[in-house]
Symmetry: C2
Subunit: 570 residues, 2 copies
Amino acid sequence: MGLPPRLLCCLFLALSLAAAARAATRHHEWEISYQFTHSDCVRKLAVTINGHTPGPTIRATQGDTVVVRVKNSLLTENVAIHWHGIRQIGTPWADGTEGVTQCPILPGDVFTYTFVVDRPGTYMYHAHYGMQRSAGLNGLIVVEAARGGHDAEPFRYDGEHAVLLNDWWHKSTYEQAAGLAAVPIGWVGEPQTLLINGRGRFVNCSSMAPGACNATHPECATQVFAVVPGKTYRFRIASVTSLSALNFEIEGHQMTVVEADGHYVKPFVVKNLNIYSGETYSVLIKADQNPNRNYWLASNVVSRKPGTATGTAILSYYGGRSSPRRAPPTTPPTGPAWNDTDYRFRQSVATVAHPAHVEPPPPRADRTILLLNTQNKIDGRIKWALNNVSFTLPHTPYLVAMKSGLLGAFDQRPPPETYAHQGYDIYAVQKNPSAVTSDGLYRLEFGSVVDVVLQNANMLDANKSETHPWHLHGHDFWVLGYGIGRFDPAVHPATYNLKDPILKNTVAVHPYGWTALRFKADNPGVWAFHCHIEAHFFMGMGVVFEEGVERVAELPKEIMGCGKAKGGGH
Amino acid sequence: MGLPPRLLCCLFLALSLAAAARAATRHHEWEISYQFTHSDCVRKLAVTINGHTPGPTIRATQGDTVVVRVKNSLLTENVAIHWHGIRQIGTPWADGTEGVTQCPILPGDVFTYTFVVDRPGTYMYHAHYGMQRSAGLNGLIVVEAARGGHDAEPFRYDGEHAVLLNDWWHKSTYEQAAGLAAVPIGWVGEPQTLLINGRGRFVNCSSMAPGACNATHPECATQVFAVVPGKTYRFRIASVTSLSALNFEIEGHQMTVVEADGHYVKPFVVKNLNIYSGETYSVLIKADQNPNRNYWLASNVVSRKPGTATGTAILSYYGGRSSPRRAPPTTPPTGPAWNDTDYRFRQSVATVAHPAHVEPPPPRADRTILLLNTQNKIDGRIKWALNNVSFTLPHTPYLVAMKSGLLGAFDQRPPPETYAHQGYDIYAVQKNPSAVTSDGLYRLEFGSVVDVVLQNANMLDANKSETHPWHLHGHDFWVLGYGIGRFDPAVHPATYNLKDPILKNTVAVHPYGWTALRFKADNPGVWAFHCHIEAHFFMGMGVVFEEGVERVAELPKEIMGCGKAKGGGH
């Protein structure tokens, strides 16, 4: 029975070579610059790629090599771009995380990101430096299943559309960051507009100063998604929001969720989809409604009390009697109640692996890190912290520091593994909100299995707890469980879903809730793990993992040149 | 007669040692960050030093060493600081000119500027990177005459005050720069407010949105200069404006001009003083007016049609019956007619060296560079050019490139030495406004005497020519002459003032005029020479000189690390 090992090996090699022969290299030339844009009809300076925000969609096929040559044409500002959801196996220096995997790209410099997209799915890219993501530097990555591999996809569709969701502020990210760092804090506030594919309509356009808002600017013309009656469409949906948790709905069309963060989902049907910053989903819809009218695509804020109008786009049927751009005859869907945590919790729990695509998790963890997410105060400034440690980025990237043996580049003391969970009241305002800042990291044994339990809690204000979408670089993780209340290490692990947990790279921690995840520390490199809310990461809500850094090949010199890796130091 | 050489040498050594023993080192610790400021009562994000704009005044004594440890705490933005008027003899790497003498200072980095202030006088510092100077990073340098050296000053005074003049915009410098680079151009426009010592009052404060302007904010409280009746005061006046040529007046008090750019002037009395961006003056005033009322200090735009209210501060007499902050009973002086070029021209010509402090210029030049200043169009963008070459900064600093032999870091072809001046009509719109961009530089023979004649001309619009204040790094130059009309190399050199020309580092080229200057290329290094209007330099109005770079000592590694000097290149 079966082939002898030597033949098996040859067969594998032959298949690999065949795959390699098919794999293409996708070249992109990007120039990053400031441009005046009109995403929501309001004139605003944005960080753009080749003049546009969002940037171009990167389309590739599983196994392809993507090469993006980034020229920084900003005047005084550096840049770095993260390929969100791409694990960068063998290329940890291409993860684009300033301070973690690379020095920033200086004005005038060209930096080439080269990486393999090893799995099909829906991903995204965005700046990972300061708050530049919010300034407009973001876009989609769509990786098709390998040629012939489409047959392996557990669903069928006739066409596809891509939807990139965002929230948008009129204030510059400089002002936002300066406010966040100020005493008292100047909070970013609710976004002015919700964007779909970089387009929205600011509701107070007409009351703005002359020239500030142009309601007929082509850049803010509503996006139209055209469908052929009777056909099934895959909508790839990604959220790159800075702050908002969103609920996405296509009026009159039920959605079947089939993919999450590049993994096939056991299909489930929803009227609308909750999507957190950093997440991607694919849903299928059937174009089976009255083709003679248009339908709204709607994006609504959930989890925070909304202060922003519904973001909209239009679904229009080919051959129907409605002109594609005509507003539907209805009012746009307003989504579920913003504070219906239970509604969102149920969707989280419903998202499990497709039966034919289950990758079983290791049965147990070698190490469990329990992270209490709290709001804290340091020197009068409001911060976020994990186990009372608020994260700061070092100015020498960890990857460079560790490979070059630059001692003193970051705090060598590891952050705490847990918090005093027994007796901790997650529903109360923390009695002593003081915390420390640190750029220490967690060093993981290479190949070990790591559980992380994210424990949410009350904020500095009474009766307030927010949703935090946590994103892990360099890995997917199994989502083992969710709960509301305090996680008990003696009780809850027994409730984990070890049968068909979904693999994801971003997951929500619900208000007053916990989320348990597991991953294998088998990707040599240094990897950020953080709340994907731009302001929260800026305020310290993140940690960093290192694993197998000694296995990382020689670093490209291009990622160096800053902090202690600068020639001569200081 | 005279001492034998060996004894002379010993005497010189002894004197040097004595001077060195007296010389102090002045340490400064600066942190650069964005802060919300209220310079003109309007809330605006500014680049600050230790939280303030303008930054602290550097006070030192001739011969002191100034050490400024600059920590860049901006989030994503680099920085570089120029010490305007300090020649950096022996320390060309400390000139702070990004792209010329150093790589920018990255966020998180500390860069230490160390330089000797070898001459007494009034100087300034400001960012020299992108348009950061306009964002608030600027301040004064006051160098006292060496201990005992005050006796050598050709004037006496009882007290002194410092006045830093500026213009101020509410738009961010990012927006300004993006506008300047756009097609069609988004010109920066006239400033919203004129500042005196970082304080002004925006005239439309009350009509702004709630919270946007606070007329009672302490940061915009009018500056009061107190004087004792009967005493004589030295006012040190510097202009760090981004755009505006200014006229400065102290109501009811004549001013005797005694210093310009660190050199003693043959005293002349004025009712008010024209001062261009990058210039400094000292004037003496006698506090001999009615002490029972206050007087305006007034700053008015000249040379451009003003769109900005008079900038004001208050002169108040100690012991008088007026409270120091009370507005004077008069309306502030409005200065001369903005377009009275002749009035300003006369002040330029009147500014010559003090008879007891004449440093005679070399009688003739080894080389003359004739630079036609024109407005041009390149790829639809409006630029400024010299002899139809619009300057761009390289991303590898010249000093680093030339010392490290990095070929290809900049255009090796020298820019043109002259233009077709015969028959050129400087009063007409240029027939063919196209130009080229280049980062080539002028290589000067070490120790040679160089004349530069700056020739102004008509802009792209008919009947329009502006004043350009040109600033030379690393040197003072003799101002040999000014003229209106076309400079004729066969005629005008005979009219040069070779008897008592003033030495300056910044000089105005008047509308449709020319200015001739001479300097000795005896300071090893690479030095920018450019219009000090921030937008004009951004648009290409500058050149670079190199001299004796082979004599420059080994460069500090701290200035390297960018462009082709980055490890490994790209």
